[in-house]
């Protein structure tokens, strides 16, 4: 199975959302990274200052190195965040004071400016600043290393807070972008929708070229659409002409054959010959009926898509049809009884007439001589047109089947007809939004009902 392609709107929205999501994620990581770096930098700044303050307080002397730990340096470390503080002061590689297990800088030889490094320590991780100094002890320079460490909980708390805020900013910008992308999709697709609405609004027979102001991007579509409309118009015209021509060309020779056969029948004395001629005439009759119904059917199919929308006076139409069929009915001594109240529907007159013609033709075909066919028109919604005969009825067959193309009643093998008649009626009904049904008539016969929505 082929997957339906995504709608343009959905595709546009999804792409914009994807971009928004990527931007939101980039924003999130950028904000977080910058903030974490800033937090780290500020911690490094304080740590470095504390380390330098301690280094400043180093003093040499004859009996060794002394140090006066500056209280404020430590206090300030605590003021930024409530983090644990460790320190270590080494002279000549031996710990003078502080936490002697505090890890020294990874590369030996810390500089005069502090170096910073992160290291696991005890049960946690610490950020360490280390600075080296030379101190004169007994007039000899002694290397002293000062290290100040601080746990990173405060920084982590900042990072977490920042991450939450960054997530909120990311989410917020995503939501904003999502809303904007919906608006954008709407405005971008607006001209397409307007064009579609303009084309959809057209009448059924409106095959004019589309002349709707559209953005330049849609011009190729319009050009292609107009080309297609022109081809469609041409194809429809050709089809109609072809069907009409075909019917025309087959009918004239059929008429000749029929006339010849009748003449021959009159003059022939041989009963066998006469029977053959009758068969020829029946075949001609069937061909001509088929040609007529094919033409009707083609007309119905062709016009269903572009139905004329005119007000049709059904009473007048029914009377005219009854009139036209009168001589035919007379040949079988059939009475056509018309009971019509005024009623109008909105629709295609030619199609409704074709339906009526097929209904009456069918009724005459199946009626036994000297019976009455009732043609009834009852206004209302829907309007009902009923053609009731005293023929052989449905004989228990499903009416639905009879309206299928080329289906004929099992009991109608000996009656000429192509089986398209009822199909045409059903198609006309559905093209008008109505329906058609066939029922067994009370007291024998068939009752065909065509319902059309009232005007």
């Amino acid at each position: 199975m082929r997957r339906a392609p995504l709608s343009l709107r959905l595709r546009l929205v999804l792409q914009l959302l994807g971009i928004a999501a990527v931007l939101a994620i980039v924003l999130y990581f950028t904000v977080r990274t910058v903030a974490v770096q800033a937090a780290e930098a500020s911690q490094d700044g304080v740590l470095g200052a504390a380390t330098l303050a301690i280094a400043e307080s180093l003093q040499g002397g004859d009996d060794g190195v002394s140090v006066d730990l500056p209280y404020e340096a430590f206090s300030i470390l605590g003021s930024i965040s409530a983090d644990r503080v460790f320190y270590r002061i080494d002279a000549r590689g031996l710990t003078l004071t502080g936490y002697d297990d505090l890890p020294p800088p990874p590369e030996a030889g810390a500089a005069v400016t502090p170096v910073f490094y992160t290291s696991p320590y005890r049960d946690t991780e610490v950020r360490i600043a280390a600075v080296a100094r030379m101190v004169l002890v007994a007039r000899k320079p002694v290397p002293v290393l000062v290290m100040v460490a601080q746990t990173r909980q405060g920084q982590e708390a900042i990072a977490q807070r920042v991450a939450q805020r960054a997530a909120a900013i990311g989410l917020g910008s995503f939501v904003l972008a999502a809303a904007l992308s919906l608006l954008t999709a709407g405005s971008v697709l607006g001209p397409i929708n307007r064009l579609a609405a303009a084309v959809a609004r057209r009448g059924p027979q409106d095959l004019r070229a589309v002349d709707h102001p559209t953005p330049v991007e849609l011009r190729p579509l319009i050009t292609a659409l107009n080309g297609f409309i022109a081809r469609l118009r041409g194809a429809l015209t050709r089809t109609e002409t072809f069907i009409a021509e075909a019917a025309h060309h087959i009918r004239t020779p059929l008429a000749t054959v029929r006339a010849r056969a009748e003449i021959a029948l009159r003059q022939s004395q041989s009963e066998e010959m006469r029977e053959s001629l009758r068969a020829v005439i029946r075949a001609v009759e069937e061909s001509s009926r088929s040609a007529g119904q094919l033409l009707d059917h083609a007309t119905v199919v062709a016009r269903s898509d572009r139905l004329a929308d005119e007000s049709v006076d059904l009473a007048k139409l029914l009377a005219a049809q009854a009139d036209a069929f009168l001589p035919t009915a007379d040949l079988k001594d059939l009475t056509l009884r018309v009971t019509a109240e005024p009623a109008r529907v909105q629709g295609d007159r030619a199609l409704i007439e074709a339906a009526l013609r097929n209904l009456i033709d069918n009724a005459i075909k199946y009626s036994p001589p000297e019976t009455t066919i009732d043609l009834t028109l009852r206004p209302g919604d829907p309007v009902l047109i009923e053609v009731a005969d005293r023929g052989r009825g449905l004989s228990g067959q499903k009416p639905g089947r009879l309206t299928k193309r080329f289906a004929r009643g099992e009991n109608a093998r000996d009656v000429i007809g192509s089986g398209l008649g009822l199909t045409i009626v059903a198609e006309v009904a559905s093209a008008h939004g109505g329906r058609f049904d066939l029922t067994e008539r009370e007291g024998g016969g068939t009752c065909a009902r065509l319902y059309l929505p009232s005007a």
Partner: protein, 221 residues
């Protein structure tokens, strides 16, 4: 009756003319509009059978000209085009009726009769025989001053028999003309109509005689 048959297809024109002549009608064929005009100038017709597509013009133009000229010979259009719009067109242009090719001659005759009846020139066709007065146009039969209604098939049976009194028509011949070829008819069905017509003819000098093994004939007492 006298027909003008305007039809350009020679085969069809010939066949139709021959077929109509079999029923006792006079037929002048015309293969174009020009020929049709010549015929109309030379003689008068009871009815014109008009094709639409002709070599020198459209039948509808002829129809329009005829109606404008004030002549009102009834015109029945024969067409191969069965489209609804065509039918409406020709009736609007003044045609009296319309048949689609190929047509049933019985139906054509019925339509002709109906057209003539509507035009009211029924008198020309009244036939008298052995005390009965018969007008096939309005299906009226007068026997001894009494009006008797004939149904269509009774009328046509009488018409067949009255066309050649004393001539024997076989059941098959009558069948072919009385019933459509699509109907399956038993010999019995003819006897029914013969019996009915005999009843309608009672009181006149005419009667239908059964010639055993051969058929029926109309004879005068």
């Amino acid at each position: 009756m006298r027909f003008l048959l305007v039809e350009d297809n020679p085969d069809l024109a010939l066949s139709v003319a021959e077929r109509l002549r079999l029923d006792g009608h006079a037929v002048d064929p015309a293969a174009s509009l020009t020929e049709a005009g010549d015929c109309l100038a030379a003689a008068s017709y009871d009815l014109i059978l008009l094709d639409i597509s002709l070599p020198d013009g459209d039948g509808r133009d002829f129809l329009r000209r005829e109606r404008r000229s004030g002549r009102d010979t009834p015109i029945i259009v024969m067409t191969a085009r069965a489209e609804v719009s065509d039918r409406v067109d020709v009736l609007d242009l003044g045609a009296d009726d319309y048949v689609t090719k190929p047509f049933d001659f019985a139906e054509l005759e019925a339509r002709c009769r109906a057209v003539l009846r509507r035009r009211g020139n029924a008198l020309q066709t009244v036939q008298h025989y052995a005390g009965l007065t018969f007008n096939p146009l309005n299906a009226s039969l007068v026997v001894a001053g009494e009006m008797r209604e004939l149904r269509n098939r009774e009328l046509r049976l009488l018409e067949i028999l009255l066309a050649a009194p004393e001539r024997i028509f076989s059941k098959a011949q009558i069948c072919d003309r009385l019933f459509s070829y699509a109907e399956s008819v038993t010999d019995n069905a003819i006897e029914v109509y013969v019996a009915r017509l005999r009843k309608k003819l009672e009181g006149s000098g005419a009667r239908i005689e059964t010639v055993r093994g051969l058929g029926y004939r109309l004879t005068a007492e």
